[in-house]
Each structure stands twice: as structure tokens, then as C-alpha cells.
């Protein structure tokens, strides 16, 4: 009896292991794990990239959400058990991860030429291809307000956001030094071209914090991208900084009376990166090439208002897939929105984020 129990147990364990291993290889051959920021943004990627990719290649995509940052990638790479194949990251993280050897280098020759025949390296906007990263969209931090809460004058400039005398009410701001310090300086009259030079000096940093001091007691701080539209809808705040696509989603899909103020927007890139030692690197590369071709790059913009990075994709941006409204005026890169825009300087932030976030945290705690 005893023996038969042991034999059965061993046999069962063996079978289980066998099952696991065949399961494992089956998975490896036919699926990859793609990690992104969740919410409306991930939905747009599923519609524009994942579903057509699966339809064409038969490879299934497991979509996972995360909250940005390199912590998970670093943990996986250092532990030597990488389970993510592809991650959608911010520019400063892409550069830093590449510097520290956490990411695979990507050969840009895998990227297909634009639909008009332009080679990929010319078709991608300048500063969107990196050693370890390929950009897919342009997004922007803007501020938005709820027009149903305002009678009379409405905010038009970045300075209005910091003016609680003109527009009394709470403000929502991301709990991070980036990019509210830039916005504060632009509100104080610094031209967008001089913002990072000013922030590189102690006097400039003091100046930015002085502007923040004016509204400090009226600020509610948010951390996840889904929070600001919620705070606006709940009436917790009168205006809030936010990622433009999230506000677009609330405006168009949920019919909220929100208005985006584009003056003083700070734009940035989202990029695909492959963690070093990713289990399905080849498939991930195939997916990068597929999802950043002209057609997909433009298609993504019909689900959420983030701009394509390919020049050949810009004219193809058409209407919203669900509501049919024209997407072009909602893009951060639309000419009338882009008048006073600042590109996030990843080199500056890679150098100064520890210092400025520390000072920001100290300022918050006081």
C-alpha cells in the first residue's frame, strides 16, 4: 500500500512536470507578454496592434498592466528570470535602462519603411529611435478643467493654472517633480526654450518652487493616470494636470464636459523596449516592427489621442473608431495645440531627478 502510494505520487509528479514543460514550450512558441500602462491606452494598443498581429501571425499576446518605472524590469533581469517580452516605457526610463544594461539593443534595420517608401530612419520623427528603444507615440502632460463648474472667464494659459485668485478652486497635480516644475516656470513667464537652462540653476529651481508655493495649499496630488479624470468628474478639483489621452477618453467616450488647455503642454514619448534576456526576443522584435509600421501607427490614433511618431502616419490619422469625430485637432502635435509646447528633456531628468524629487518631497513634507 505504502509503496503503491509512493509510486503513484512519483508518477503524478512526473506527469505534472511533463505537463508543465510541454505547456511551457507550447506557450513559448505561440505567445508573448506585452506590458503597458493599462486603461484606455492599453485598450487602444490591443485594438490597433495586438488583435491584427494575432490575426496575421497566430501568435497570441498576453497583455499586462504596470505603473511605469523600471523596478520590475530591473528585478527580473537581476534575478535572471525575465517573463516580460516587451514593455511600453517613458523616454527617461528607456535611456536609463539602456545605460545600465537592463534592455536589449534593437537593430533599427528591422523596422519597415514608411508606406510612401521613406526608409524607417527618416520616416521616424527626429529623436524617436534609440539604441534600445523604438518610440510608438507622442503623449503630453496638459491641464484640463470642467467647464460646467465655471461661469464667465475660462482658463486659457498655463499661468491661469497657478492663479487661484482668478480661478479659485482645488488643483490636481501629479505627485512628481516632473513636469510640474517646467510648467511652473512657463507660467512664470520663462519661454519654453529656456526652461531647462533655468532649471539647471539654483535660482531657477527656487523660482519654480516659489510658483508652486502659491497654490500648495490648494493642491490634491495624484499618482496613477486614471486618477485625474476621476478627480475632475467627482468635483474634487477644478483643474488638474493629466495625460491628454485620458482626458480625451473622458471627453469623447464618457461625454464629460472637460476642456484641455494646450498652452504650456510638456510632451514626451512612449517607447517599446525589450528587457535583457526576454524569453521571446525574436517574436518581440517582430511585434515592434509590426506595431510601428505606418498603418498601425496611424490606426492607434483612432482609439486614443496620442500622436504617431512616423511622419508618414500623420496624414493617415482620421476619425475616432467609436464616435467618428475627427482626431486631428485632439493630437498634441496638432499645430494649434503645439504653439507653446515643451519637449521633456530626458537627459536633464536622468541627471537631476534624484535631487529634484528629493527637494520636491521635502517641499511637500513641510
Amino acid at each position: 500500500m505504502k509503496r503503491s502510494f509512493t509510486t503513484t505520487a512519483v508518477a503524478a509528479a512526473g506527469l505534472a512536470m511533463l505537463g508543465l514543460s510541454t505547456f511551457g514550450t507550447a506557450q513559448a512558441a505561440e505567445s508573448i507578454t506585452v506590458v503597458s500602462w493599462g486603461g484606455g491606452y492599453t485598450q487602444s494598443q490591443i485594438k490597433a496592434y495586438h488583435e491584427p498581429f494575432t490575426a496575421e501571425t497566430g501568435i497570441t499576446i498576453r497583455s499586462e498592466d504596470y505603473n511605469g518605472g523600471l523596478a520590475e524590469v530591473k528585478a527580473q533581469v537581476e534575478a535572471g528570470s525575465v517573463i516580460w517580452d516587451l514593455v511600453d516605457v517613458e523616454l527617461s526610463d528607456a535611456v536609463r535602462g539602456c545605460d545600465e544594461g537592463l534592455l536589449e539593443t534593437i537593430d533599427h534595420s528591422i523596422l519597415p519603411p514608411g508606406d510612401d517608401g521613406t526608409p524607417a530612419k527618416d520616416d521616424f520623427m527626429e529623436g524617436t529611435l534609440f539604441e534600445c528603444a523604438v518610440a510608438n507615440i507622442v503623449w503630453s502632460t496638459i491641464y484640463a478643467y470642467d467647464k460646467s463648474k465655471l461661469t464667465g472667464a475660462v482658463p486659457k494659459t498655463i499661468a491661469d493654472f497657478f492663479d487661484t485668485k482668478k480661478f479659485p478652486g482645488k488643483r490636481g497635480i501629479r505627485k512628481n517633480a516632473k513636469p510640474i516644475l517646467e510648467m511652473a516656470l512657463m507660467a512664470d513667464g520663462v519661454a519654453s526654450g529656456d526652461v531647462y537652462d533655468t532649471l539647471s540653476t539654483d535660482a531657477g529651481i527656487d523660482r519654480a518652487f516659489k510658483v508652486l508655493d502659491r497654490i500648495k495649499k490648494d493642491v490634491l496630488w495624484w499618482e496613477a493616470g486614471a486618477q485625474p479624470p476621476q478627480m475632475l468628474a467627482d468635483g474634487e478639483v477644478l483643474m488638474t494636470t493629466a495625460y491628454n489621452g485620458r482626458i480625451f477618453n473622458a471627453q469623447v467616450v464618457e461625454n464629460k464636459p472637460f476642456v484641455i488647455v494646450w498652452d504650456g503642454q510638456v510632451w514626451d514619448l512612449d517607447l517599446w523596449v525589450i528587457p535583457k534576456g526576454a524569453p521571446n526576443k525574436e517574436t518581440a522584435l517582430k511585434f515592434i516592427a509590426f506595431s510601428t509600421d505606418t498603418k498601425r501607427n496611424a490606426a492607434q490614433a483612432s482609439y486614443i489621442s496620442y500622436g504617431p511618431v512616423r511622419k508618414s502616419a500623420a496624414p493617415l490619422v482620421s476619425t475616432h473608431a467609436e464616435t467618428g469625430i475627427d482626431m486631428k485637432p485632439h493630437m498634441p502635435t496638432a499645430p494649434e495645440n503645439f504653439k507653446n509646447a515643451l519637449q521633456n528633456d530626458f537627459e536633464f531628468w536622468a541627471d537631476h531627478q534624484d535631487e529634484l524629487n528629493e527637494r520636491f518631497n521635502a517641499w511637500l513634507a513641510k
Binding site: E236, E347, A350, D351, E355
Partner: protein
């Protein structure tokens, strides 16, 4: 007879020896079996609990990057006095040689430059790009004077701060993370001084964490004690029903309970809307009840309350009502009888509840992250920040190690004052 004894004795002795040995081997076997049975649990504890904690403690002092990345410069800087001007030409030459070797050393070398630059940037803000820029140019610098060449690449090479940082961090172990946890740092001459005022944050956060944990514990005692008393003295049927009311939120997800407080305390939430309807608060300037310290304290008190009620309740259940009756019949009024007779007997429960609530509150993370806003966040939120955002894991580990030491210290203090053996967990 004597013969018989003589002949019998050896067998008896050998029997006894035999028996003893067999007994010993039997107990040894059963002990081994018992150990084998618990072994999976022990191994699990070791792997999932002890090893990670030791690893964390180690990470807080482990700092090998600089020594690995620039070994020659580390040696050249060994005898340099950071108070007496810039290092010698040899140090500059050694650094160029180190960086050139890394730069041409394939992807591992390049990654080490990145990690070295990031590590140094934690100590000297802004030097990350100086290092990467210098490393890019280092292989092209074939001959001296290297000092002028480096200063030409970036003026920071002409200031002693960056060299002092390299010198200090070239040792494989460091205490800088612990210093930084207490708002201290090394100045260029190597003495420990306070951070400039605008960068001081951690002392405030430590004090705030202690304050909020203490206040939450106190509020839990004030709210939990009467509830426990009620539960312990009501008839079984009613008290069972009430216990369910205590346990139901206890079993509900932490996240759900925290977000329900957002619904209740929000600006347009249930509470303020009701008060506004009653005319008790204005429509425009309503008090801010959430996304600040108030929100954190309210939500944490609610969430931790069962940890106070249950130990007190279990102690109260064991107190015989005859003591109170005796005190009353001996002439004590109800207040005196309660204070002199009942209260002292519940101290072990209150102590257990307090230490449980206090320790849990010290490490609280999700609730303050969601409702803490500007001034309601605790030290755990900063640990998470350095784990997830700044990737300064050594520093996060140092903060965690101090938190762990603090909790162990409090436990020790509690043991000295109340006695752990007096603690009743229910």
C-alpha cells in the same frame, strides 16, 4: 543463586542497554520524522522570509559598483586628501584608463558605466551625464595631460566634489544610505554633516510615521475597548451577531475599505454633502477630509480596529464577572470597581492589540498611498518610491532596515514593560 545472578546480570544489562539504544533510536526516528514533516514549512520560511530580510539588510550596506567600475582610479585616490585641492595627474590618468577599458569592454562594460554613473548621481546630483559623456570620449584620449583634457570635457572634473564621491564610494561597503535616511551626508572633506534644509525630508517622515501610528493606536483603543466590552458582556446570541459585524470588514479587501473612505470623505462625498444639506458647512469652502493626514488617520483607524478589538475581546471573555460583583459588594462604586478590578485584568489584551496595531501602522503602505495626499504619507511610501521610481534599492533597504530595527526595539521595550508572555493574541 549467586551464580545465577552473575549469569543473569550481563543479559539484563545488555537487555537494558539494548532497550535504551532502541528507545533512543526510536525517539530519534520520530524526531527526524517530525522534523521532516515540518521541514517544508521551515524551508519555506527560510526562503520566503529569512533570506529576503537578510538580503535586504545586506543591500543596505553593499555598494560594490564604484570599486568594480574604476579600480585604478580607486587605488590612485587612496591617499588623496579631499580637503587639499584636486587629485594628482595620476588619478586623472587612472580614471581615463578605467573608463576607456569599460567603454571598449563590450556590453557588460558599457552597462557598468551606466550603473557607475547612476550610483554616483545619487551622491552628486547631475554627474550622470558627466560620466557618460567622459566615458564616450575616454578611448580617444591617448596621452596626457589628462587633467586638462577631462576638465575640458566637463568643468565638474575641476571640482573636488566628484572626486571625493568616487573616493568615498570605492569601498565595497558603505553607510551613506543610513546617513541619508537621517538627513545626513558626507561633505567634501569627509565629515558627516546635515543635508541642506531644502533637502531635509526623512526626519520629518520618521516622526510623522511614529506620530500617526501612535495616534491610530490610541484611537483604536478608545474605539475598540467599549466595543470589545460590549461583545464580551452581551448574551451569546447578540454578541455573535456583533462579532460578525466586526469580522465582516476585517475580511473585506483593504483596497475596498480604503476607497470607500474616499466615497465617504470626499469633497462631494456622503458626509460633506449631508453636512452641506444640513447647512453645517458652506458649499464653497468645505473642509478637506481626505488626501491629507486626516484621511490617513481615519482610514487606518477603521482598517486596524479589528486587530485591537479581537485580542481585547478574547481577554475580556476570560474575566469572570464574579470579580466585579465582589468589588461592588465590598463597597466600590461602579467606576472604582471598573478602574481597580476590571481594567487591570484587560491590560494584556490592550497590550497585545496595541503592539499589533502599532507595528502594522508603522509599515502601512496602501492606505496612505491612496488617501495620504501631501502630508499623510508614511515612511513605507518613501521605501516604495525608492524601490519603484528612483531605483535606489540600497537606500530603500536602509530605510527598511531602520524600520525593522525600530519595530524590534519596540517589541523589546514592550517585553520589558509588559512582558510578551502576558500578551494574549486571542
Amino acid at each position: 543463586m549467586a551464580e545465577a545472578v552473575i549469569t543473569a546480570a550481563p543479559t539484563e544489562v545488555s537487555d537494558a542497554v539494548n532497550l535504551k539504544a532502541r528507545l533512543r533510536s526510536a525517539t530519534a526516528r520520530s524526531r527526524r520524522n517530525a522534523f521532516l514533516l515540518t521541514a517544508p514549512l521551515l524551508i519555506m520560511l527560510l526562503i520566503t522570509f529569512i533570506v529576503p530580510i537578510l538580503d535586504m539588510l545586506f543591500r543596505s550596506i553593499d555598494d560594490p559598483i564604484v570599486g568594480q567600475a574604476v579600480p585604478r582610479a580607486a587605488i590612485a585616490l587612496e591617499d588623496w586628501d579631499s580637503g587639499a585641492g584636486l587629485p594628482s595627474e595620476e588619478a586623472y590618468a587612472a580614471l581615463v584608463a578605467d573608463l576607456a577599458a569599460l567603454r571598449t569592454g563590450g556590453s557588460d562594460g558599457k552597462a557598468l558605466i551606466g550603473r557607475f554613473a547612476t550610483r554616483l548621481n545619487f551622491e552628486q546630483p547631475g554627474v550622470r551625464s558627466v560620466i557618460t559623456k567622459t566615458a564616450r570620449k575616454a578611448p580617444k584620449l591617448k596621452e596626457g595631460p589628462y587633467k586638462d583634457a577631462l576638465i575640458k570635457i566637463h568643468k565638474k572634473w575641476g571640482q573636488p566634489e566628484i572626486w571625493a564621491a568616487i573616493q568615498r564610494l570605492s569601498a565595497p561597503y558603505t553607510v551613506v544610505h543610513f546617513l541619508a535616511s537621517l538627513d545626513l551626508h558626507y561633505d567634501v572633506e569627509g565629515s558627516i554633516v546635515g543635508q541642506p534644509e531644502m533637502r531635509q525630508v526623512y526626519i520629518t517622515i520618521w516622526l510623522r510615521t511614529l506620530y500617526i501610528s501612535g495616534l491610530v493606536t490610541l484611537l483604536c483603543i478608545l474605539l475598540g475597548y467599549p466595543v470589545a466590552y460590549l461583545l464580551a458582556t452581551l448574551p451569546q446570541r447578540t454578541s455573535n451577531l456583533l462579532i460578525i459585524l466586526v469580522l465582516l470588514p476585517f475580511w473585506t479587501s483593504l483596497l475596498v475599505r480604503t476607497t470607500s473612505w474616499i466615497v465617504v470623505l470626499g469633497r462631494n462625498g456622503v458626509l460633506l454633502e449631508t453636512l452641506a444639506w444640513l447647512g453645517l458647512v458652506g458649499d464653497v469652502d468645505r473642509p478637506q477630509l481626505i488626501y491629507n493626514m486626516t484621511g490617513t488617520i481615519v482610514a487606518m483607524t477603521h482598517i486596524l480596529l479589528p486587530f485591537m478589538i479581537l485580542p481585547i475581546y478574547s481577554v475580556m471573555r476570560g474575566i469572570s464577572p464574579t470579580y466585579m460583583r465582589a468589588a461592588r459588594s465590598l463597597g466600590a462604586n461602579p467606576a472604582r470597581a471598573f478602574y481597580k478590578v476590571y481594567l487591570p485584568q484587560t491590560v494584556p489584551g490592550v497590550g497585545a492589540g496595541s503592539i499589533l496595531v502599532f507595528i502594522l501602522a508603522m509599515g502601512y503602505y496602501i492606505t496612505p498611498a491612496l488617501v495620504g495626499g501631501q502630508n499623510g504619507t508614511l515612511i513605507s511610501n518613501f521605501i516604495a518610491f525608492h524601490m519603484q521610481k528612483s531605483l535606489n534599492w540600497g537606500f530603500a533597504a536602509a530605510l527598511g532596515a531602520i524600520l525593522l530595527a525600530g519595530v524590534l526595539g519596540l517589541y523589546w521595550l514592550y517585553d520589558r514593560v509588559v512582558g510578551v508572555s502576558n500578551m494574549k493574541m486571542g
